[in-house]
């Protein structure tokens, strides 16, 4: 094993270098020539772990990487100590920390000593939770302790060859008899769609590291909202004419923030394929980092359900912990009812979203574009939960439920007496009457649950102004992986 000093670490590694070398991986994470080791050179022995301080888009960031060439990157007590020291450094400097994982878990040969070391990593991560942003990139198999390490952090990125599981296929087969391969057990497909363990998946390591850089910069250097740089876009044509029609909310979000997804300033969506009926994304508005939460009517009609509430709750708490203002885009027909949801704990998990919004102190601006019905209206950062400002487009409907559904309950007997061929007409009449009585948007404004009805072509400036006027704030809590 080569002994490295500062000067060597700062230089480009020769092209024939092993791509699994943690030094090569950390150099890819940091801006050219900025990597400085955090541990003394002699520590780079057989611990299989390297930690350094560098810069990402000029922002100081701590990084560490396991060495899969030494015992498969397994974590011994010395390697664990390197990670704990990296966390101490990140906390001391108040900078984001990025872990590059490729490790089979605790070292068997060290027995309980390695387990103790892995536990110390978990404690360090929890100590740092909500104080400095933590990002994990899984580049190879990450089992046991190496799986729970990333899981304790704020954002997990899984590369194409990355695998995350409690234990691999061989042990699974021997203890339960289940026959399953690594990819199906803990690869990108199950973790991006089914488990929600990882926030992003990429085909290549280079893309995974690029995402980590982008996120470290968004969270580590949030910038200042320059109101004058915010120009308006007319979103008026984005909604379908029929209020029953589903549509994809992504084009709206692309326009709402400074750039569309995939561009340098564009939004970065977290958990895009898991609980896709709600969108959680980071991006910039007027140059400042903001978090966006939006119902997506294209999936499950945009309903909130157990998973989407839990996904959004964790995102709200992360943004609040790091002082990232929230923009909440509401078009929600309600909480999804039914047997599956109740057994899935929609009440328990839905409560997490209520709690997350109600405790958040960061500026949080709600925009109701279309429907905001029932319990889901409350949950989507309503005035009652402490929204900084609630804006609505003229197309917004705020109610316990849709007018037709409401009159079917309120006038059930009367409607039952109406001949079937006239029922739709009577329903429509009653619905119009109901709208007038309950008051729609005007009544919501009177009550103060909506502050302002804005034209879609004023959306960006109205949101930016509300965030600016609120001033900075940051919640004082950790970010438990809900």
């Amino acid at each position: 094993m080569t002994v490295l000093d500062n000067a060597v670490l700062g230089q480009q590694v020769a092209p024939q270098a092993d791509p699994r070398d943690p030094q090569v991986r950390l150099q890819a994470l940091f801006d050219d020539g900025t990597l400085r080791p955090l541990t003394a050179p002699h520590d780079r022995d057989d611990s299989g772990m390297l930690a350094g301080l560098g810069r990402v888009e000029g922002v100081p960031v701590v990084g560490f990487a396991s060495d899969p060439r030494i015992q498969g990157g397994a974590l011994g007590s010395a390697g664990c100590e390197v990670i704990v020291q990296a966390y101490d450094a990140a906390l001391r400097e108040r900078v984001p920390i990025v872990g590059l994982w490729h490790s089979g878990g605790a070292r068997l040969r060290e027995g309980v000593e390695s387990l103790h070391g892995v536990g110390r990593i978990f404690a360090a991560m929890t100590r740092a939770s909500g104080i400095v942003p933590q990002i994990s990139v899984v580049l190879g198999p990450a089992a046991g302790g190496a799986a729970y390490g990333p899981a304790l952090t704020d954002i997990v990125i899984l590369s194409g060859d990355g695998r995350v599981f409690v234990t691999g296929p061989d042990v699974v087969r021997s203890v339960t008899g289940e026959d399953v391969d690594m990819a199906r057990l803990g690869g990108p497909e199950p973790h991006s769609r089914r488990s929600g363990v990882v926030h992003m998946v990429t085909d290549t390591d280079a893309e995974a590291v690029a995402h980590a850089r982008r996120l470290a910069a968004l969270l580590g250097h949030q910038g200042t909202l320059r109101l004058r740089s915010v120009t308006d876009i007319d979103f008026g044509s984005l909604l379908p004419e029929s209020t029953k029609r589903a549509y994809d909310v992504h084009p709206l979000l692309d326009g709402l923030l400074d750039g569309p997804a995939g561009t340098e300033t564009g939004i970065v969506e977290l958990h895009p394929k898991w609980a896709p009926n709600i969108v959680t994304a980071l991006g910039r508005l007027g140059g400042r980092t903001v978090g966006v939460i939006a119902n997506n009517p294209l999936r499950l009609g945009g309903c909130l359900d157990a998973l989407s509430a839990e996904k959004a709750a964790r995102f709200v708490r992360m943004c609040d912990a790091f002082g990232v203002p929230l923009v909440v885009v509401v078009d929600v027909p309600g909480y999804l009812p039914g047997l599956g949801q109740e057994w899935d704990g929609v009440v328990r998990r839905g409560a997490k979203l209520l709690h997350a919004f109600a405790e958040a102190t960061v500026p949080r601006v709600t925009l109701v574009t279309r429907k905001a019905y029932g319990g889901a209206y409350i949950a989507m950062n309503s005035r009652a939960l402490g929204a900084t400002k609630v804006l609505a487009w003229p197309t917004a409907e705020v109610a316990v439920m849709g007018p037709v559904a409401a009159v079917r309950i309120l006038h059930r007997r009367r409607l039952a007496e109406v001949p079937e061929d006239q029922r739709a007409t009577v329903e429509a009449e009653l619905a119009a009457e109901h709208q007038q009585l309950t008051g729609g948007l005007d009544r919501a404004k009177e009550l103060g649950v909506i502050d302002q009805v804005i034209s879609p072509d004023q959306t960006r400036t109205a949101i930016a102004r509300a965030i600016t006027e609120a001033g900075p704030a940051r919640g004082a809590h950790s970010n438990i992986p809900l």
Partner: protein, 70 residues
Amino acid sequence: MAEIRAEMVANVWKVLVAEGDDVSDGDTLVILESMKMEIPILAEDAGTVGQLKVAEGDVVQEGDLIAVIE
């Protein structure tokens, strides 16, 4: 081959493809009606509709097979 399954309990409101049709990624196959919303079911890959398991007016349960794209 990709199986497309219902994400929620719903009525099948419209069926827009037939077995043997070629579809592209993002094409609408079926429109479900649930929670008083029209919810399109989209192809997630390009291919041919190998099987179509629903007809207009059917009720699908969460997890029911709607179509297979080959």
